[in-house]
Symmetry: C2
Subunit: 152 residues, 2 copies
DNA sequence: ATGAGTGCAAATAGTTTGCAAGCTG
DNA sequence: CAGCTTGCAAACTATTTGCACTCAT
C-alpha cells in the first residue's frame, strides 16, 4: 500500500488497462500527484505539474478520468472545494485535515465495513461513506500571549 | 434527546437566552424544522414553513443564526449542498443519506472522542469531524428485470 | 433607539458542460 | 480514423455579501 517501487507501475498498469489515453499533460499531472506527499487541489496540481497554461478544465477532467479507474481519492474540505490524492484502489483511508493550510495526515482507521453493514440493514445499497477530521495543525494555531502561563 | 414535550421548549429557551430575535418568519422556520421528521434543504425548509415569498437569503441567515447558538446540525450531501436539522446541542449524531431522494436515517454511532484524541496527538486543535454514509434507499433502487432470479 | 432581521441585487468559488478542434493508439 | 482529449467560453448551484430599510426588544 505504500508508495514503493511498484506503486507507479501499478498505477500506470491500471490506466493502460482502461480506455484512457496517456498524454503528455496527463503524464505530468500523474507525476505531480505521485510526487506530492499530500492531497492537493486541482489548481495546485496544475502548478506542481508545471502546466500553468493548461486550462483547469483539463485538470478536472483528468482527475475525473483517473477517479473513474479508481486511482484517485477525493478529500472534501470543510467549507468548499476538495483535495485529490493518488491511491491504489484497495488503499482506502481517511484524513486529518488542517482547515487553514490544508495540510493532511493519514488516518488509518475506517469503519467502512461496520457502517455499510448497518446501512444495508436499513435497506441502503451502493453504500459509500465519508469521514474526515478537521482541525488546526501545529503551524496554524493562533499565537496567544501565553495567557495561561503565569511566569510570562 | 428525543423530541419529547420539552424539546421545543428547550430550543426556544436557547434562542431566548441568546442575542437572537424571534420574528414571525423565524418562528415559522423553527416550527417547520421541528415538525420535519428528517433533515431538509434551505429551499425545502422555506416551502415547509409556508414562506414561498421569503428570500432564500433569509432562510440561510436564519439557519446560520440558529447554528451559532448550537441548535442546528448541517449534513453535507455527497455532491453539493447540505441539509439542516434542529437538534439539541448535546445530541451529536451522524446519518445515512439516500443520494437520490435525500431521505436520511439517524446513525447513533460516533467516533468523535477517538478521532479527536488521535488528532490532538498529531498536534491538531479545535478538532471537528465529519461522518456520513451515502447510499440508495429502498425506494430509490433501480428496478431490474430480476436478472438473478432464475424463476423469472 | 439600538442593534438585529429582511429583501434585492450581485458576487463568489469551485466545478461542470457544450462545442469545435487536436491528438493518440 | 474512431474516439478520447483539450481549450474556450459560458453555465451552474448553493451559498454569501453589501446596502438600505424595517422591526423587535
Amino acid at each position: 500500500m505504500k508508495r514503493d517501487n511498484g506503486f507507479l507501475k501499478r498505477i500506470l498498469y491500471t490506466i493502460e488497462s482502461s480506455p484512457l489515453r496517456m498524454t503528455q499533460k496527463r503524464e505530468r499531472l500523474l507525476d505531480a500527484l505521485v510526487a506530492s506527499d499530500r492531497p492537493i487541489s486541482a489548481a495546485v496540481l496544475r502548478d506542481k505539474a508545471g502546466l500553468p497554461d493548461s486550462d483547469l478544465v483539463t485538470v478536472y477532467r483528468t482527475l475525473e478520468a483517473f477517479e473513474r479507474v479508481g486511482i484517485i481519492q477525493r478529500i472534501p474540505l470543510e467549507e468548499s472545494g476538495c483535495l485529490f490524492e493518488v491511491t491504489e484502489p484497495e488503499d482506502h483511508h481517511h484524513h486529518f485535515v488542517c482547515r487553514e493550510c490544508h495540510r493532511t495526515e493519514r488516518l488509518d482507521f475506517c469503519l467502512g465495513k461496520e457502517l455499510e453493514e448497518r446501512a444495508k440493514k436499513l435497506g441502503f445499497t451502493e453504500v459509500t461513506h465519508l469521514m474526515e477530521v478537521y482541525g488546526l495543525c501545529e503551524d496554524c494555531q493562533p499565537v496567544h500571549e501565553s495567557v495561561d502561563c503565569v511566569g510570562g
